[in-house]
């Protein structure tokens, strides 16, 4: 295999090494191009990772459904009727729509997004109070700083326990005070704190000033019967959320005698929509980075081709001598093309190393993603391989230009030039 021919490589490094400065200048274009390509792609990846971090803990393929007021009269009911769901609805929906993976009903104290006064040792906080099932944790994951989240035993035994947000903790407890095991009072009933959660830089639907108590405990303590406030629903992977959303609404509309065209009676929020928008945004950003990078790379490779053309012109006599001594056109061509490849590949690697260095510095400085969505800016291995193959492919094509020029040199013309 000629690629492993030691002499070919000696020839090539000889010619390239003979004029280090020019070789370096030639490579500069490709080095910059690679730096730009990798920086752009790396940053786009960093941004994508940043958004992913924001969404971490929230099932992206999920939706939330709650009741509002009707806007159309129907079946003898007037408009403006308040829709209230019942616990049985959760079972009906789960049974009828197999695409639903998790369905967590929730009840809240006061009105929707209402605030209730929570007491402890003379300190108070105005917090949201939710009655929840442990399954909710599969849809909006809580990052616990202390203790645990609600579990099935809490539900089964209607335990008077609660999980509070960090904000609530700050309002009710002194700094550094131990909260686990302490009691807080809501509407005259005491609940023991079993966990504290903190915001994890993500989308936090429940807020940070909230108290979570077991659903069954909520029912008994506040006499809410089988009412539920809203439902958090995770849809199985691969099923579009709007498809399930429509089924849910159809079932609920039929059950609660809502006009089929009434868009206002059932409130819902499709999480996947935001997620898809952001995914689309980062995908376009990545595509754009690639596009810009590849064209910069093309410009760099063309610069190499240009210099090689000049080199060929300078080496006319040498190439003529080689031809006279028995170098076939293929050998001459191959040498020029391999020179183009070696220059491009080496420059590409140098550029890659520089860019990776810069990305590492950026990562160290901003990579935590605390201030803005920018986490672990780096290019992936497939991205690197694709860019590299494209670059080498381009260099072969572009190297053929000076190579063909070299082959067109007739030995007699070359030898006549003195």
């Amino acid at each position: 295999m000629w690629l492993f021919d030691r002499d070919l490589w000696i020839e090539i490094f000889h010619t390239l090494g003979k004029n280090m400065f020019r070789t370096f200048l030639t490579m500069l274009g490709v080095i910059f191009a690679m730096v730009i390509l990798v920086l752009l792609l790396g940053s786009a990846n960093g941004m994508s990772n940043g958004f992913n971090k924001i969404f971490a803990g929230t099932a992206s393929n999920s939706l939330f459904v709650w009741g509002q007021s009707t806007s159309e009269p129907y079946k003898g009911f007037e408009r403006g009727r308040r829709i209230r769901y019942k616990l049985e609805d959760a079972d009906i929906l789960k049974k009828q729509i197999p695409e639903i993976e998790v369905l967590a009903p929730r009840i809240e104290l006061g009105n929707h997004r209402g605030v209730v006064t929570v007491y402890r040792n003379g300190q108070t906080s105005g917090s949201a109070v939710y009655g929840d099932f442990p399954e909710i944790d599969n849809i909006t994951k809580k990052k616990l700083v202390e203790g645990r989240f609600l579990n099935q035993t809490d539900i089964d035994n209607s335990k008077k326990v609660c999980v509070i947000g960090e904000e609530t903790y700050k309002l009710l407890f002194d700094k550094g005070e131990k909260a686990i095991g302490q009691d807080i009072r809501i509407n005259g009933i005491y609940f023991s704190v079993v966990g504290i959660y903190k915001p994890n830089n993500n989308i936090n639907i429940d807020g940070e000033n909230a108290v979570f108590i077991p659903f069954t405990t909520f029912q008994k303590a506040f006499n809410s019967g089988d009412r539920i406030g809203w439902m958090a629903i995770a849809v199985e992977e691969g099923t579009p959320v709007p498809f399930v959303e429509k089924q849910i609404k159809d079932i609920l509309k039929a059950k609660y005698d809502i006009h089929p065209d009434d868009e206002r009676a059932i409130g819902s929020f499709d999480m996947s929509e935001i997620f898809n928008n952001i995914t689309a945004f980062t995908t376009v950003l990545k595509g754009f980075s690639f596009f810009v990078g590849i064209f910069t790379l093309l410009a760099g490779v063309i610069a190499i081709s240009n210099i090689l053309l000049i080199t060929v012109k300078e080496r006319t006599q040498e190439i003529g001598v080689r031809r006279a001594l028995g170098a076939t056109p293929v050998i001459v061509k191959r040498q020029i093309v391999v020179e183009a490849i070696v220059l491009t590949a080496f420059a590409g690697l140098v550029g890659f190393a520089i860019a990776v260095g810069i990305l590492s510095i950026l990562d160290a400085m901003f990579g935590s993603g605390d201030d803005f969505p920018f986490v672990k800016p780096m290019i992936s291995v497939p991205q690197f391989i694709i860019s590299f193959i494209l670059m080498v492919g381009l260099s072969v094509l572009i190297g053929l230009l000076p190579a063909n020029r070299a082959v067109r040199i007739k030995p007699i013309d070359a030898l006549r030039e003195e």
Binding site: D7, G320, V321, L325, G326, T328, P329, V407, I412, L415
Partner: protein, 233 residues
């Protein structure tokens, strides 16, 4: 070894056609040392180019060592040049960034001779032209005579059938010229066939046969008493 029949060659210069070779008939046997003489424009360089397969004739036959040379592709021509011919140029045409040894080894590289063997062979020929101690020197570190001797070693390294020398002494002073001719004579003594294009009478008389070209035809072709260059060195 070389046989040429009714060779014609003309060049187009704009609307004019310049008839350079007007029917050359000529034969060279193995072991001959032939001088091709003629003033500039006589067609001697064109003849050498055609003999060297660097150019092709318009019509006529050319046979080299029994192989008809006709309608060669670039690749075939390169392979034949490599196999059959060794070139010695007036301006030496060494590759300036390669050492003397590497220059000599170049034809062997194109013959795909393994590296080690190539180096040994090249060294052998360098020794033969008396430049073994200069093997690692670049052409720029050698004198004109030394350069030409490296070029001769290079021409011989591929063990060709015929050596073609185009004004081999054209760029050298007379003392160095005689040294080079002495070397060429010695190589010829070993049985190598050599063609020398020259316009210098004294150089031509150091060959064994002189072919005179004038206006594209051979006007004289005679065997001569060889003057040995040794006595002038």
């Amino acid at each position: 070894m070389i046989e040429i029949k009714d060779l014609h060659k003309s060049y187009k210069m704009g609307s004019n056609s310049l008839h350079v070779l007007k029917g050359i008939n000529f034969k060279v046997e193995e072991g001959e040392l032939v001088a091709i003489m003629g003033s500039s424009g006589s067609g001697k360089s064109t003849l050498l180019n055609i003999l060297g397969m660097l150019d092709s004739a318009d019509s006529g036959e050319y046979t080299l060592d029994g192989v008809p040379i006709k309608n060669l592709s670039e690749t075939k021509a390169a392979q034949y040049r490599n196999k059959f011919l060794g070139f010695i140029f007036q301006s030496f045409n060494l590759i300036n960034y390669k050492s003397a040894l590497e220059n000599v080894a170049l034809p062997l590289y194109y013959q795909k001779v393994p590296r080690k063997e190539r180096q040994e062979k090249a060294m052998k020929y360098l020794e033969r032209v008396g430049l073994k101690p200069w093997a690692d020197h670049l052409p720029s570190e050698l004198s004109g005579g030394q350069k030409q001797r490296v070029a001769i070693a290079r021409a011989m390294a591929g063990e060709p059938k015929v050596l073609l020398a185009d004004e081999p002494t054209g760029a050298l002073d007379s003392k160095t010229s005689y040294e080079v001719m002495d070397l060429i004579q010695k190589i010829n003594d070993d049985g190598n066939t050599i063609l020398v294009v020259t316009h210098e009478e004294d150089i031509a008389h150091m060959c064994k046969r002189i072919v005179h070209l004038k206006d594209g035809v051979i006007v004289e072709d005679k065997k001569i008493e060889q003057v040995r260059a040794e006595q002038y060195v």
